[in-house]
């Protein structure tokens, strides 16, 4: 026989669970169905030979993404006048 006390505890636990359910973090941003790209494939910038372009100034190793990123990162600092002046 289940005592009244246990029933009260069980009921309170159920109410607590129901109340906590309202605190859940549900995804509120619509997840768009991304279309499948239908166009031509594109080459990646670091796959170019840095010496091939007439106006290329940065140096990186052909095919090496991290060296291309490093070249761009150092070029980015040209936009930081605090780093240029001080």
């Amino acid at each position: 026989m289940i005592s009244a006390r246990k029933l009260v505890f069980a009921g309170a636990a159920l109410v607590a669970v129901a109340a906590l359910a309202g605190c859940g973090e549900n995804e509120q941003v619509i997840v768009y169905q991304q279309g499948k790209y239908q166009g031509k494939p594109d080459t990646r910038p670091w796959e170019n030979d840095p010496g091939a372009g007439l106006y290329t100034t940065s140096k990186w190793t052909k095919g090496d993404k991290s060296s291309w990123e490093a070249a761009l990162r150092s070029r980015n600092q040209n936009q930081n006048e605090y780093a240029r002046v001080e």
């Binding site: 990646r44 910038p45 070029r75």
Partner: protein
């Protein structure tokens, strides 16, 4: 991984439209198409604010979501590009974009819409890099030359920053910490440096 982004500092932008001109010149953008433009709030009122706006290369781009012919793709470095060969000029992307980035060349007697044109973050498009075909359709491919977008690189006040999101956020953070915020960034001292003798009184009748 690099995530290419633009960031415009409204405290610094002086509405010179140099970025607009640089973009036009670099990419030989046709008449009537503006890949980048400067928007000013409270124009003419002291405290007016300007920002330079173009494609923001969204991480979850609405233009990609609505395009009926799926011409958009996002490169590994986070740039949203499109294939003009497939574009049907329907204009859905223009309605979806919160920034008005997609532009349509209008030619002919009935104002027909041409193929969509937008900021490419100076990354060209799906043609051979730095080829004539790529330049004719999409403009310059500066990323393949190890450069950053022309608009950001030539901005005279360095209001417009462009590049890896983390790097430009660091530059902007350092700047904001140095100069302060709100009213602190206004005035003579900010523009021309602090005076040698701050207690010195201005001569009578002098204008600040």
């Amino acid at each position: 991984m690099a995530r290419m982004k633009f960031l415009c500092d409204a405290e610094r932008c002086i509405e010179c439209n140099g970025c607009v001109t640089a973009c036009k010149q670099e990419n030989e953008v046709p008449w009537g198409v503006n890949r980048r433009r400067v928007v000013t709030l409270n124009d003419g009122v002291p405290g007016e604010k300007s920002i330079s706006v173009a494609c923001m290369h969204c991480s979850d781009a609405p233009c990609m979501a609505v395009c009926p012919v799926d011409v958009f793709y996002r490169t590994e470095e986070g740039v949203v590009l499109h294939d003009k060969d497939l574009c049907i000029g329907c204009g859905y992307c223009f309605y979806a974009c919160p920034f008005g980035a997609p532009q349509f060349p209008q030619a002919g007697a009935f104002g027909m819409r041409g193929k969509m044109d937008k900021c490419t973050f100076c990354a060209g498009g799906p043609e051979k890099d730095n080829s004539k075909e790529e330049f004719a359709k999409y403009g310059s491919n500066r990323l393949a030359q190890g450069k950053l977008p022309a608009c950001a690189e030539m901005c005279s006040t360095k209001a417009l920053l462009g590049g890896d999101g983390d790097v430009i956020a660091d530059i902007f953070r350092a700047r904001a910490l140095k100069r302060g915020k709100g009213a602190e960034v206004w005035g003579w001292g900010t523009a021309y440096g602090k005076p040698d003798n701050p207690r010195q009184q201005a001569p009578k009748g002098a204008k600040s």
